[in-house]
Subunit: 170 residues, 2 copies
Amino acid sequence: MLGKDYEGQECALASTLEVLGERWTLLIVRDAFFGVRRYSDWVARLDIPRAVLSERLRGLVASGILERGADGYDLTEAGAELWPALHALIGWGHRHRRPSTNSYRHAACDTELGPGATCPACGVVPPARDVLVVPRATGGGRTDPVSIAMRAPRRLLEPIDYRAPSRFAA
Amino acid sequence: MLGKDYEGQECALASTLEVLGERWTLLIVRDAFFGVRRYSDWVARLDIPRAVLSERLRGLVASGILERGADGYDLTEAGAELWPALHALIGWGHRHRRPSTNSYRHAACDTELGPGATCPACGVVPPARDVLVVPRATGGGRTDPVSIAMRAPRRLLEPIDYRAPSRFAA
């Protein structure tokens, strides 16, 4: 009934929402910035119906935001440029809705990013690969192994180093 | 079938998408930044089913992004703080999908905003009320009177000065 396109909407925002505006899509992209690359890891993180995840991943590849690599999905250059938009949406949620589970710092100088994903010390908008994710000590939260692996400081886009606990059991 | 909440998603981004992630919502917010305040003007701009528009406006008021004033809907302070996120999504679309119909300039110094909605000359992220919208000469485009009134440079949040042509006919 409601499609995903916005026919007659001439603006650049509508063109962005046509590829990112569907339910779950931005959370999938968020997890790609957080180092998720494998189908099964998105399944663990998102409680998302598998058919929906498959469709969204196909759409993100078709629109040039993700690409398939040897070890899973990677953000393309265009996809990685979504970082300031993501940072702004996270920041707004943090101030007005629910505290963010992470803070974001410029790796070069260890300064927390300010509005516009700008480093206030250097006056630049660091690309995602130069941003440190530092989890806040919130306690509780998701207990899937992927989410637990994300509780260590790391850089954005760095694949998460995660081994399923079952491999070490016994 | 697909709700709008993201149960089990602890992050600030999910909390933002719960209030902004539904179809049309961000385009309604965009038009509020562009000076749209009246129900009928959103109808003219968006080709949106009226029932959907009413529901989205109700939701935006309930979540503290819009408020009802004497002359229509206004962005709240929290709503106006969505500007850097909107600018980032527009900028990404402009670079990767479809050219933006506007450029955005810092009113104080007439410099085009850069990444992160930052003014490169002043090194600040100007609030929306200090941003000039300057339509690009694209030709064509929507022919409804609201969209035509938007083709003059003005500040964000400034109510559009629009009179229906019919009032002057005859």
